[in-house]
């Protein structure tokens, strides 16, 4: 599918956002707004159905993670397809998440 589809589920103080399709600069705000709308302490982004992510998508996820950590909340990114994990590893995505978890102002 072209574009992105987001399905929201709730589970014990946690919001789960299931993301399907292609996340890029043309639709990244859609997911950003959905994350910002959630009041839960933990927001989980399930990427199992994601087929493509560009640098705008990766950048948005990191800035939202920073934002939530600053509020003492958590953004968790789970079930990442291997080929997307590889792309994210190149830019240092997971290293940044680790650093932000302990110091959101880094």
């Amino acid at each position: 599918m072209k574009g992105v589809k987001i399905r929201v589920r709730q589970k014990k103080g946690m919001a789960i956002l299931e993301v399907e399709g292609e996340l890029d600069f043309s639709n990244v705000e859609q997911l950003q707004q959905e994350i910002q709308r959630r009041p839960e302490e933990v927001v989980e982004i399930d990427l199992q159905g994601l087929r493509f992510i560009d640098s705008s998508g990766a950048g948005m996820l990191l800035s939202q993670a920073r934002h939530l950590y600053r509020q003492g909340r958590t953004l968790r990114i789970v079930r990442i397809p291997d080929f997307i994990r590889e792309d994210l590893e190149v830019i240092g995505f997971f290293r940044v998440l680790e650093v932000l978890e302990t110091n959101p102002n880094a």
Binding site: R51, F52, S55, G59, D87, V90
Partner: protein, 241 residues
């Protein structure tokens, strides 16, 4: 030393090294860039990078980063210091717009034949030597994602005549054809391996032809940039510079 710019391409001859680069934006302009920067009488830098986003916004930030990169090299040309400083000053600019940029910086000392590499979130360069392809191992976080640059440091290689280095952006390895399959690093490694003996510009053209064969003319979502550098003489020899 000589640098020739033609359309989206550039050819360099300096310090016993020839370089050939090409960048094709997916839109009218893009966030990919590459540069050859002369440092002193024995050192030349090659840089490749990709600023987050598309179109004019990315292109504007890319021009800022390019300018800052030259300035950082002028202040202190140690490759790790260049990247650290660029992450400080350029990272500040990038963060203002919620952006980041990847960068791979190579410094080549033509007298010693030494190549130094520092990576900030960019796809690793490929090294072709004696018909074998090696992937550089240095890694680091892209510029602008953290206040202080975080990476594995400087990686060093000694190059002999005939050795080549290939730099590329994600738009090349993530390019797709009619199916969903990507061009990928493995196919790139294989076509690079087959280029042993070719000059830098021929290598670049052959890799781009192979990419075109793979994508079968399908338009791509991302900019594609490729740089090939090849050592033409023994360390210390200036050849035809």
């Amino acid at each position: 030393m000589r640098e020739v710019t033609t359309g989206n391409g550039k050819i360099l001859r300096a310090y016993g090294l020839e370089g050939s680069g090409y960048s094709l934006p997916a839109e009218q302009v893009g966030g990919d860039f590459f540069e050859f920067i002369f440092c002193d009488e024995r050192t030349v830098f090659a840089a490749i990078g990709d600023v987050m986003g598309k179109g004019f916004h990315a292109a504007r930030l890319m021009e800022i980063i390019r300018h800052m990169l030259r300035e950082c090299i002028r202040i202190n040309p140690h490759p790790l210091e260049v990247v650290r400083r660029l992450n400080k000053v350029g990272g500040y600019e990038l963060r203002k717009y919620g952006a980041f940029a990847t960068l791979c910086l190579l410094g080549y000392d033509g007298t010693a034949g030494r190549l130094t590499c520092v990576n900030a979130g960019h796809h690793p360069p490929l090294l072709l030597s004696d018909g074998k392809v090696k992937v550089a191992r240095g890694r680091g976080v892209a510029l602008g994602l953290l206040e202080d640059y975080l990476g594995s440091g400087v990686e060093e290689f000694f190059l002999a005549a005939g050795d080549a280095v290939v730099l590329y952006t994600d738009g090349l390895v993530e390019a797709c054809g009619p199916g969903e399959q990507r061009y990928g690093q493995e196919r790139l490694k294989e076509i690079v391996r087959l280029q042993y003996g070719a000059d830098a510009d021929r290598m670049k053209q052959n890799i781009l032809s192979d990419l075109e064969t793979f994508t079968r003319g399908f338009s791509q979502k991302d900019d594609v940039t490729l740089v090939v550098m090849k050592v033409t003489g023994k360390a210390g020899e200036r050849g035809e510079d």
